[in-house]
């Protein structure tokens, strides 16, 4: 059994992923899975994989004692800032509460899908990385900490190995907060994990490329983490308008920058490129329901993503403010957030106290607007068009962290005769395994870990939900009203061959509604995996 102090071991790998929780047949045949990516020796020589053999960050360990000393000094300086009101007023209180009040009772551990999927690997316990972090704080930040740590037998050597493993392990948690729900003290291991990520990003400039360089930085430069600038996004959406005409015969021109509209719709811009059927479905529904709506071509006004939510407060604040400014400029009545879970939470919850006065434009979930439209009877819906097995994935950010549970269910109960729940569901759901940026991260060999560990419990749940119709001949649909979750499902299903073996497709909620619209000529959902 691994001990907490092992994190500091200067050599060797802390654990190996091998004893994974079993999957139902035919997914239990390891030989059918793609071989795990073998990193070249030159890469292994360069990056740190000493936690579990995987790398999310491609972190290079300091090579000389001088480099190591500087690395540690930067960490300690970041630790001071993390625990100061000036630099971390936004999370200082919950951070300290979670640092100080853990009873080490381990009530939280079984709630963690990563820990259970890994076959209870000690290194993936929700409490492992945070106990390391807590001890480092106690030992190196508090006065008299070193003596006390030694006395309590809780001292940890602070070396490069400790820090590299600590940071990598902060990217072995999806920030799903199931563990936080289970904690009797109100300690939040996800928050602590995010604070670790934050320290490394905000002080040392270390974060996964996919969510920083190619994510929030790109969004602040171009307007979207996809790299689409205002012109590109308008061109792409115009193309989708044409697509709607071709597919349905409806003439829709997506409104842009319409001042005084009731609704500013902000999609996760990734939808426009990867799952265009979702923004198309929204346009069809909003037009059919007679909603006064617009999209914004302002910087970040057309992309609801805010990756800072997962790792960096400055990036978070910048994006949140830009999005709110876009809405204020257009004088819309409300922002409606499209099917993007973290975009929902970032804008509606976490940014709430950042946006004061007229910048705090009311924000609402698209699921609520869609529910109102469906229930109001403004659309003619024919549920028999959706007469295939459907289950619902609950995006953690919308459900566990915002309590938006029923609107999507009200819709599905009305339009999907074969709707069935997963177990567990609602606020107790399992994360898709792509949370906190993982759906975007595939560098080095991280994708293998994401599919074999992070997405495992979700895959199991989905298969169980369709246990009564396992044949690939019966086409089934996982409704995932979140762009990141869909990204994870796309990659996860591909890795396990879920479409071929079980005939399970994933997609959004708006698509199901349009598929049920009686006045749309052809089925809107194309049963093609992409």
């Amino acid at each position: 059994m691994r001990k907490i102090g092992d994190i500091a071991s200067r050599t060797g790998q802390l654990t190996q992923v091998h004893n994974l929780a079993p999957l139902p047949p035919p997914y239990d045949r390891v030989e059918d899975l793609p071989a795990r990516k073998k990193l070249k020796q030159e890469v292994l020589d360069r990056i740190d994989t000493s936690l579990d053999g995987f790398s999310a960050l491609g972190l290079s360990r300091p090579q000389t004692p001088e480099e190591e000393r500087k690395f540690i000094a930067r960490f300690l300086s970041g630790l001071e800032k993390l625990l100061s009101a000036d630099n971390n007023w936004a999370f200082l209180e919950p951070l300290n509460l979670s640092l100080d009040h853990c009873a080490r009772c381990q009530s939280c551990v079984e709630a963690c899908p990563i820990y259970t999927a890994s076959g209870h690997d000690e290194v993936y316990r929700p409490t492992f990385r945070n106990e390391v972090f807590r001890r480092l704080v106690n030992q190196y930040h508090k006065s008299g900490g070193r003596a006390l740590a030694w006395l309590k037998g809780e001292d940890i050597e602070l070396n490069a190995a400790t820090l590299c493993r600590l940071l990598e392990s902060a990217y072995r948690c999806t920030l799903c907060r199931r563990c936080a729900q289970a904690c009797p003290m109100g300690v939040d291991n996800a928050l602590l994990t995010r604070e670790i990520r934050k320290l490394f990003s905000m002080e040392m400039g270390i974060a996964p490329k996919e969510i920083h360089d190619k994510g929030s930085m790109l969004q602040l430069r171009t307007g979207s983490s996809t790299g689409m600038n205002a012109r590109a996004v308008r061109d792409n959406v115009a193309f989708l308008d044409e697509e709607i005409r071709d597919q349905t015969g409806l003439t829709i021109e997506t409104p842009w920058d319409k001042e005084g509209a009731d609704v500013l719709l902000i999609h996760n811009a990734g939808e426009i490129l990867a799952w265009p059927e979702n923004p198309m479905a929204f346009a069809i529904i909003l037009e059919a329901a007679g909603i006064s709506w617009t999209m914004s071509s302002d910087l970040a006004g057309y992309d609801s993503v805010n990756y800072g939510l997962w790792y960096d407060d400055a990036q978070f604040a910048r994006v949140a403010v830009r999005q709110a400014e876009a809405a204020r400029k257009l004088k819309v009545k409300k922002i409606v957030l499209g099917e993007c879970g973290h975009g929902h939470k970032a804008s509606m919850v976490t940014a709430d106290r950042l946006l004061c006065g007229d910048l705090n434009v009311p924000r609402e979930s698209a699921l609520v607007l869609l529910r109102d439209i469906v229930i109001s009877g403004r659309l003619t819906l024919d549920p028999s068009r959706n007469d295939f097995p459907v289950t619902l994935h609950d995006p953690c950010n919308m459900v566990r962290m915002m309590g938006i549970v029923e609107p999507q269910r009200e819709i599905l109960r009305k339009i999907c005769p074969q709707f069935r729940e997963m177990t567990p569901h609602g606020v107790d759901n399992y994360c898709c395994g792509g949370g906190s940026g993982f759906a975007l991260m595939s560098g080095y060999n991280f994708a293998d870990w994401r599919f074999s560990v992070a997405g495992r419990m979700k895959l199991k749940q989905i298969l169980n939900a369709f246990a009564d119709c396992p044949s690939p001949a019966v086409k089934k649909y996982v409704c995932a009203p979140c762009s990141n979750c869909k990204g994870q499902f796309r990659d996860l299903f591909q890795y396990y061959g879920v479409w071929e073996k079980s005939g399970i497709l994933y997609g959004g909620l708006a698509e199901l509604i349009v598929n049920a619209m009686a006045d749309i000529r052809q089925p809107f959902i194309k049963w093609e995996f992409h």
Binding site: M1, K3, I4, A85, D86, N87, W89, A90, F91, E93, P94, L97, H101, C102, A103, R104, C105, Q106, S107, E110, A111, E122, K152, G153, E154, A180, A182, P184, M185, G186, D188, M202, M204, G205, H212, Q219, L220, A314, A317, R318, V321, K334, V349, T350, R353, L354, L355, C356, N360, P362, E364, V368, D372, V399, M401, M402, G403, I404, E406, V427
Partner: protein, 299 residues
């Protein structure tokens, strides 16, 4: 005399330590929202599945339940029945429950004993009886709980790796306090006797047996030690649950929010990564309104 001084100092440290702790947290800047569902507010039906006001369209135009009844009912179950432990770690529950109830009864009987002593309640026989039976009950529960937890912590594979010297110390301290509490019944006048003497004629404490004195010394030590441990979760749960986990209060309804935010935005940022404030220290307001997207400097 030494014991009296020890007890007096312990009581002062206990109250001062806990006050400092509470004030410390109260004075921290208002954090950003970080709530977690289910939250026991709003209509019952919605609470049952963990729904929130965000489920309503134009939620900002509707009235919200800001009452505490749901929170209190939830917390009562948490405090009295240790609901989260029951749901998430059944094997630990019994011992933890015994220890907690030992502490609750001990606290209760001490309060009753103080009351009886202050009221000079020879005639309040009920109070006397409550202490007479409450005290051994509290100590028995406490002994069973702390012993059970010590065994669990040493043997259970889920707990072993996370059992620190301080967890063993804390449980041993509590166990010793409860054991001596139990033994002091045959040694002296029991809890009400000790409390009466402490309040009325502390000088005669020396007449009591060694075990009673050891008990008082252990309780005094525990009181002084308590504010510096995670055991303050007893009241800090107000902050972790009510203040963070259940705090879904929207800024749009909060007239003070803008003022608090303005103060926080004036704070200086000294984070060193180049993408934060490449030109040197800046205020949060400047960082947030900076277009960003600059600063290479990734390590």
């Amino acid at each position: 005399m030494l014991l009296i001084i020890l007890i007096s100092v312990a009581v002062i440290v206990f109250f001062a330590g806990n006050t400092v702790r509470i004030v410390h947290f109260l004075r921290m800047p208002t954090p950003l929202r970080w709530e977690l569902y289910p939250i026991p507010k709003g209509p019952r039906a919605r609470q049952r599945y963990g729904g929130s006001y965000f489920e309503q369209s134009d939620w900002w135009t509707k009235s919200h339940d800001t009452g505490r009844a749901g929170e209190l009912a939830f917390m009562a179950k948490e405090i009295l029945l240790l609901r989260s432990v029951w749901e998430n770690f059944r094997g630990l529950w019994l011992w933890s429950w015994l220890l907690h109830w030992g502490l609750y009864f001990y606290l209760l009987t001490t309060v009753v004993a103080i009351l009886a002593a202050v009221l000079r309640a020879g005639s309040f026989r009920l109070l006397h009886l409550a202490v007479l039976y409450g005290s051994p009950l509290a100590c028995s529960l406490g002994v069973a709980g702390s012993l059970g937890l010590l065994v669990m912590r040493s043997l259970h594979p889920r707990l072993r790796g996370y059992t620190t010297r301080s967890s063993v110390f804390n449980l041993t301290l509590l166990g010793a306090a409860f054991v001596t509490g139990l033994l002091s019944l045959s040694d002296g006048a029991g809890l009400d006797g000790l409390v009466r003497v402490l309040l009325r004629s502390p000088a005669s404490l020396g007449h009591y047996g060694k075990i009673s004195q050891a008990h008082l010394a252990l309780v005094a030590f525990f009181l002084a030690y308590f504010p510096f441990t995670h055991m303050t979760h007893a009241y800090m749960k107000y902050f972790t649950w009510h203040g963070v986990r259940w705090n879904d209060s929207p800024a749009i309804r909060d007239p003070q929010a803008a003022m608090r935010l303005a103060a926080s935005l004036q704070r200086e940022v000294t984070w060193a990564a180049t993408h934060i404030a490449a030109g040197g220290p800046a205020k949060w307001s400047e960082v947030a309104s900076d277009p960003g997207g600059r600063g290479a400097g990734r390590a």
